[in-house]
């Protein structure tokens, strides 16, 4: 914004003085907006009466209307400082991807050019162009109305439908006139077929864009398309605003505002898990497109892990080419280490890995198998055993990761079983519906914590060995045990006499599991801030 002040010294820009004052006011209100947010946050603290956890981020779920309101506020801001109508301001903002500062800078610099580029004013005809028009062109749109009326009085042939009986015609500021019916079909096609909010003039090479009231007028009673158009505008606004993100769940129109996670560098210390507020299931990461909750692992590490898992088929191929079947009992044997003297674990058959022949035939001259002495063969075997070790390491983490993912998926089933149990409990005991909710809650907790556990394996895979990793794995183990215990309790058959005991046990265990989950997440989150976590790979391709 400092550049704007430079302009005020310049005599030529005196006419913008009013705008400047308006901007100062706006600047003031921006900071007070932050104050408001702080106040809201303080209120939260009072209401919930607990501080925000280290593994949680500040964010605000927004309804469609709330986002619209933010958009309108930006439009009004530009409208006020530029002294233009809000529809013109909206189009200028859309053209500049809703970057108010850059728009202001460019507009102050050359209002005429940006008005043409944004599609507000037509490209001037060579004879008409004059330097005098270079300021406040956006107000010149009235002159186009004259052209429109002048054309209407003459016999009119619509250049799109070739209809010469059309009496209702419309045109944008460029003066290109078409019949209303063509405008309507064209606009519907742009919005519906192309999902496009920029409705350009239909004339060839004309870059003038329809303002919102024009689009609405043309669509008149087509409420569906009008709504779709408005949604496209809001989606464009959200897409351009790095503080905002649409909820990725299908047909959800809510968004989340999370300025703390808007920069790439922020994502090296936080995992911004947010929820749009429409449904507890609508949980997603503000920093990346992995759906659901991938805490405690950073976006970039989670992405790396998922990529590795996708390349897993390579691993399967490796296994194929590095395992052989015992020629006696056909059980699968994997090569281990560099020695070719293999012994089948199952039938104790001894053989040579290279030629698969019985080891006895190699006798004391075991090196007689010629490929063994081959130098390149030795090197290949070394490389193979290294790769084997790294594969085993990967599989250790992958199997546990996949297991928790699988179990979390199965919890849908567990959910239904539990619901049945809860119904049973109501029938066989005098517990009320509210009192049996502890079961449902426990299932939710298990699912939630399995998701955490799942991602802890991705994290541990990339953590450098040492004390920190050991402590991380302690927390992981404690949580895992607690979750397995609770899962087991939930699977137990229900007997009416044991229900009070079971209820107590499940409730206690639920509290404990949640606590372990919190400890793990809290410690990991703090570790990021304290730069405690060291990776065994380069983690900076954010």
């Amino acid at each position: 914004m400092s550049s704007d002040y430079e302009y005020s010294d310049d005599e030529e820009y005196n006419e913008y003085d009013d705008d400047e004052e308006a901007m100062d006011v706006e600047d003031g209100s921006t900071s007070s907006e932050e104050d408001v947010e702080m106040d809201v946050y303080d209120d939260d603290i009072k209401v919930v009466s607990e501080a925000r956890k280290a593994y949680e981020v500040d964010y605000r779920p927004l309804t469609h209307q709330q986002v619209k309101d933010l958009m309108v506020a930006d439009i009004e801001y530009i409208s006020t400082i530029f002294g233009v109508g809000s529809d013109v301001a909206a189009l200028l903002l859309r053209h500049m991807d809703w970057n108010k500062d850059r728009l202001t800078e460019k507009y102050m610099d050359d209002a005429f050019s940006i008005s043409i580029a944004a599609g507000i004013s037509p490209v001037p005809k060579p004879s008409h162009s004059g330097p005098d028009r270079s300021k406040r062109v956006t107000r010149s749109s009235k002159s186009s109305k004259k052209i429109e009326q002048a054309t209407i009085s003459e016999p009119f042939l619509c250049p799109v439908c070739f209809d010469d009986t059309a009496t209702d015609t419309l045109g944008l500021s460029c003066g290109h006139i078409f019949c209303t019916g063509c405008w309507a079909m064209y606009t519907v096609s742009k919005i519906r077929d192309e999902g496009e909010h920029r409705v350009l003039c239909m004339a060839e090479n004309c870059g003038v864009v329809a303002l919102n009231p024009f689009v609405h007028k043309v669509l008149s009673d087509d409420e569906d398309t009008c709504a779709r158009y408005d949604e496209l505008l809001v989606r464009n606004y959200v897409a351009c605003n790095k503080n905002l993100k649409y909820c990725p769940f299908p047909s959800c129109d809510r968004s989340v505002s999370c300025p703390t996670a808007s920069s790439r560098s922020a994502l090296s210390t936080i995992v911004p898990t947010v929820s749009c507020g429409a449904d507890p299931k609508h949980k997603f990461c503000f920093g990346c497109s992995i759906d659901g909750d991938h805490r405690p692992v950073l976006c970039v590490v989670a992405r790396m892990w998922l990529k590795k898992c996708r390349d897993d088929s390579e691993t399967a191929n490796w296994i194929k080419s590095n395992t052989k079947e015992c020629s006696k009992c056909q059980s699968t044997i994997e090569k281990n280490g560099g020695c070719n003297h293999m012994t089948c674990k199952k039938c104790k058959y001894e053989f040579c890995w290279v030629c698969m022949g019985p080891w006895a035939e190699h006798g004391t001259a075991w090196y007689s198998c010629n490929r063994y002495d081959d130098k390149s063969g030795v090197e290949a075997r070394d490389a193979q055993s290294k790769s084997r070790a790294s594969l085993e390491r990967y599989l250790h983490y992958y199997n546990r990761w996949a297991n928790h993912e699988q179990s979390a998926k199965l919890s849908v089933e567990l959910y239904m079983k539990t619901e049945k149990k809860m119904e049973e409990m109501q029938l066989t005991t005098d517990l009320t519906w509210i009192e049996v909710q502890f079961m449902k809650k426990a299932v939710d907790i298990v699912e939630n914590c399995r998701t955490t556990l799942k991602w802890t394996y991705a994290m541990a895979y990339y953590l450098e060995n040492g004390n920190q990793k050991a402590m991380f794995e302690d927390n992981q183990r404690d949580l895992e045990r607690a979750v397995e215990d609770l899962s087991e309790l939930l699977e137990q058959p229900i007997e009416s006499e044991t229900i009070p005991v079971l209820r107590q046990k499940v409730t206690d265990k639920s509290v404990y599991v949640q606590k372990r989950n919190e400890i793990l997440l809290e410690d990991t989150a703090k570790g990021y801030l304290e730069e405690r976590w060291k990776w065994n790979v380069v983690v900076d391709d954010l």
Binding site: V160, S189, A203
Partner: protein, 225 residues
């Protein structure tokens, strides 16, 4: 909506018939006015001169608010036209489309595309590379294709060779846009050189296509030829 579309397309076809000066033709392929065949002559003083080029035209439901779909039926050797499918890379067929453009004006644009290729926005990378690296060799091939596919005159390097065997041509392999090694390879199996050139040309045995066309397929075609 389809009423207006039908009216407009019918009027466009009629207008085009009435206008003899442009040398652009639009004909029905079947009974539908929404699937048409356009045609025009290759522009003068280009390698396409003398050829007659046919274009497949499909009118989408939301025409003229969405662009017409066009592709060459006649094989064309041109950087912005796929040598395999006839698909065309031209801005007005995409985002620069305007509802005031007509079938005729679009076909005229295609005609002028033949005059002025846009190798920086290629549809066929192989052809574009040829165009960029060796213009005269590109033009030889384009002229040869015009002769073989579009009924153009025989290339001047073999005067009066229109009905003759192409072996009369100088470096017929390069002109056909093929690689000598590929022709040699199949000739070595025992097929006549002119036959090999003809088959490889029809199979579009060039560039990345080579790896996609198995040898068996080529031999099969050679046996059938």
């Amino acid at each position: 909506m389809s009423d207006a579309r039908l009216r407009r397309v019918n009027k466009e076809i009629a207008d085009c018939k009435n206008d003899q000066s442009s040398n652009i033709n639009i004909d029905l392929i079947d009974n539908s006015p929404f699937h048409l065949r356009g045609s025009f002559d290759g522009p003068q003083d280009t390698p396409y001169d003398g050829g007659h080029f046919e274009v497949d035209i499909v009118i989408p439901d939301s025409y003229p608010f969405q662009p017409v779909k066009m592709k060459f039926i006649t094989k064309v050797y041109h950087p912005n036209v796929s040598s395999a499918s006839g698909a065309i890379c031209l801005d007005i067929l995409k985002d620069a489309w305007s509802p005031v453009l007509t079938l005729k004006s679009t076909l005229i644009s295609l005609q002028s595309l033949l005059c002025s290729p846009e190798p920086n926005d290629p549809q066929d990378a192989e052809v574009a590379k040829h165009y960029m690296t060796s213009r005269s060799s590109f033009e030889d091939t384009a002229r040869y294709w015009t002769h073989v596919y579009a009924g153009g005159p025989a290339p001047s390097s073999a005067p009066g060779a229109a009905g003759k065997d192409i072996t009369g041509l100088r470096d017929e392999v390069a002109i056909a846009g093929l690689e000598k090694v590929h022709v040699d390879q199949f000739e070595a199996i025992g097929f006549e050189r002119s036959k090999v050139i003809d088959v490889l040309r029809r199979l579009n045995y060039r560039g990345s296509n080579v790896s996609k066309i198995p040898d068996d397929k080529v031999v099969e075609e050679l046996l059938r030829a």
